[in-house]
Symmetry: C2
Subunit: 503 residues, 2 copies
């Protein structure tokens, strides 16, 4: 076999795996949006069938030989060329798939499928003890998985690497060490501050059909292509790529809460703009794929927070908003904008403001690390959670539902996932700083005149179109000339909150 032929075989193999993943995406989307209730059992079988088809391909005996052969063809090229990056990533896929014994993978699939069901029940009944044995099994299986994958320092690392390649717990510890004390101090200054923000205007009556129309209007203006996407309603908002030209988002609505749906739409559209902006010529290969969950989250957070919670954004949109919702007529733009940025410690992660959000992640991250190493017993998680919550935010959950039963992640086996949420914030601030530099200072001038295309253009060129050609840290370095650094995020928060709270 010639080197180029080996490469072409790998491309076909990679595209087939992507096609399977895309079909699974549709099966999940349908399950959340339209599937009738009794369809549940067979849908699980359909997804599990395709998942096994994918796994079989990932473990294909011939891949190793093809990879070695293909490498010969591109040996002298730039390591970030699409071909060399593809070979690097394919090797990662293949090695990982080979390392985890099929029995562990199957057992994790089996246990999490049941555990997720039990978690839903436990949440309804506020019953931690019901969920506990399942979570014990999950942590124990995940430790096994980590051992199988192998690691240098910490069993957390190979799990985190699944979601954020080449990123270690040591890297993340370094970030938290700088970030948490600074934010804690900032939070204390805000809470002691006499300035209080009234956010009641966000909880007036907002008819759902109008929320939907306004959301569609904004999504379109931000650059989301509805000929290659759509917006539906689900309990938990998400984005799914069914193909590079079919990237769908979902949201949920409450008549008495403007932010709930609007910022979910902008957040998911941020994800979708990334997926719609990947290079179509490289579709089905890593060079045409999103690089990590952290970078993905940086895109959603960028649009949700940096853009859509800025004063400039509402300077542009507020007149339209008042036409949709005349009930806000008595609310000055300034009041509305401040309400959106109000800092208020709370027990629930997904309701957290930008400043208190990192503490929610820190608690989950610590628990995951200790539980994986068996330094924390699963039965002690609720107590640990309460203590940490009180330490960081001065609040104590009065129920398990407000505590460790609030997130779906652990029940479906996502351990090592939470850090990527915070990395998203940190990367986003770093990208913002670079973008401002590249675009000649503050980007507010584009936002307040609705020139979102300029911002999207920058993200497309510097991030989206690069796919997975750079590893996340390399991409940060390449774009911002700096490694991941939380100081950009701190500066961004101080700027925004400073003007609101007169700090």
């Amino acid at each position: 076999m010639k080197p180029h032929e080996a490469y072409q075989r790998l491309v076909r193999w990679s595209k087939e795996i992507t096609t399977i993943e895309n079909i699974i995406g549709l099966l999940r989307w349908d399950q959340s949006c339209y599937m009738p209730p009794k369809g549940y059992k067979h849908r699980a079988e359909q997804i599990s069938f395709l998942t096994m088809e994918k796994h079989q391909r990932l473990r294909d005996d011939r891949i190793e030989e093809w990879l070695e052969k293909a490498e010969e063809a591109f040996h002298g090229d730039d390591p970030h060329s699409p071909e060399r990056a593809n070979i690097r990533e394919w090797r990662r896929w293949f090695l990982k798939a080979r390392k985890v014994p099929l029995e562990i993978a199957k057992e994790i699939a089996r246990v999490t499928s049941e555990a997720n069901h039990i978690w839903e029940k436990a949440r309804k009944e506020n019953n931690w003890k019901l969920f506990e044995p399942y979570l014990e099994q999950i942590f124990s299986l995940k430790t096994e998985e980590a051992e199988a994958l192998g690691y240098r320092e910490d069993p957390y690392d190979p799990l985190l690497d699944e979601f954020e390649p080449d990123f270690s717990s040591k890297d993340f510890d370094g970030i938290l060490k700088i970030l948490l004390p600074t934010l804690k101090e900032l939070l204390e200054r805000i809470l002691e501050n006499p300035v209080k923000i009234d956010s009641s205007c966000l909880y007036r009556h907002f008819p759902i059909p109008l929320q939907e129309r306004f959301g569609l209007l904004v999504a379109k203006k931000l650059g989301y292509d509805f000929d290659a996407g759509r917006l539906d309603i689900t309990t938990h908002p998400f984005t799914v790529s069914i193909s590079p030209e079919d990237v769908r988002v979902t949201t949920r609505y409450r008549e008495d809460d403007f932010s709930l749906s609007f910022f979910a739409v902008v957040h998911e559209v941020g994800h979708a703009l990334y997926d719609q902006g990947l290079t179509k010529d490289y579709w089905g290969t890593p060079a045409g794929m999103a690089v990590s969950l952290g970078i993905h989250e940086s895109q959603s957070r960028f649009w949700e927070n940096m853009v859509a919670k800025s004063y400039a954004f509402w300077k542009f949109w507020y007149p339209s908003l008042l036409q949709y919702f005349p009930i806000l007529t008595d609310v000055p733009l300034e009041t509305f904008w401040k309400a959106l940025n109000r800092v208020q410690p709370s027990l629930v992660r997904i309701q957290a403001d930008e400043l208190t959000y990192p503490f929610h992640i820190a608690i989950r991250y610590e628990i995951e690390r200790y539980a994986l190493k068996k330094d924390l017993k699963v039965s002690d998680i609720p107590n640990y959670w309460s203590e940490k919550m009180e330490y960081y935010l001065g609040l104590k959950p009065s129920s398990f539902v407000e505590g460790p039963l609030q997130d779906i992640h652990w029940s479906v086996g996502l351990i090592g996932y939470f850090p990527t949420y915070l990395l998203g914030n940190i990367y986003a601030a770093q990208f913002l700083s670079r973008m401002q530099r590249d675009l000649g200072g503050d980007i507010d001038k584009f936002i307040e005149t609705g020139l979102f295309g300029i911002i999207l253009g920058w993200l497309r060129e510097h991030i989206h179109q690069k796919g997975s050609r750079f590893l996340p840290k390399e991409l940060l370095e390449d774009v911002t000339k700096s490694p991941p650094d939380p100081s950009f995020f701190v500066k961004y928060l101080k700027d925004r909150l400073g003007s609101i709270y007169n700090l």
Copy 2:
């Protein structure tokens, strides 16, 4: 390998093929209902990927051995037992898949994918010549396919057998020979008759949301389980099984046409009741699958025509209908019912009444047979069509769109499919006759009191739950003690139209 083990392997193989078909079902449903326009290209690739996965399994080298071994286990059983029927049907699948060379199958997939596109364009432009070369290729490939599949008397037979197993063109000729002259005579008597039916009440203003609510109400009452199904909107109504507990239907609406959507809903619900009524324990094997398109169509026609166009049906529903659509208040039940059953020769098959419908099928069937044998040139189809249409119904199409460009079937390679529509009518009348006998005379007494469960119960017991354990002709024989016989359909038509047209 032990015989029972071989059988269990075949069951797993059969279920995997069914799972693939179900996933393809969802991909197609989504394509028609919700997919954004740009998703088209990748959707075609996703479907083609799964179709090849299915074909590979159907041709699996090990199947022949498993079949032989499995037969040993059930040798002495009833030939209609689930196991023996499964082995019989699996053998049919396997032999068929093996006989057609992969190149022909691929070429048909390629040509029809393009041809369907061209057909849409040709329809828009009323341009037969545009479509002609593609249809030539399709007929020629289908002749090749028929040769590969093999036949005794007519190349049409193996194609018809795809949709109606064990049913030959000779069988169908026998039916047409009796049916057409009788219906022609009946039609002439009706057209010469001084009684004229005014159907204008069906074309008043019927708001779409109310049509939808009324359709849902009726579908539910007929027994359609909405926890295992749903109703959406598409250009062409259809039913799709995504799993035995997820059988979806679609319809379309026109504000100025009551029948268009209502009878589409009842028709598709008839299909869905069959699929929802298959034996779940046999899911994924022929014993739990619909047996043929003709039997499937008999279920949709039974509910659409025998039940929902009966006087008894509207005796039950008309009061509700008037509440939904007060615009009908001045229309007596009798007038409304007669309007639904009006006989009126027309050029378009899907608008045809029950009496003229068979002629539309006859024309298509004749053309297919002659074109396959090359006794009719594709370029001569429009002329042949016009002549036949004038002979049967006294009408001449003024455009190709009203002629041979009206149906999608040929463009997607469905040759040998049309007869099953007419067989559906014939079987349905035959089932009706037997049902009346079993249930103690006329079933109107159940219909007019809304006891649809009794009718559904009979269909479940005698048809749905038998899956493919009997071949279609055997099923007819088993249930009605008669081979397929058009005289039941003629009698049914004479009864219904006789009372409307005072014949």
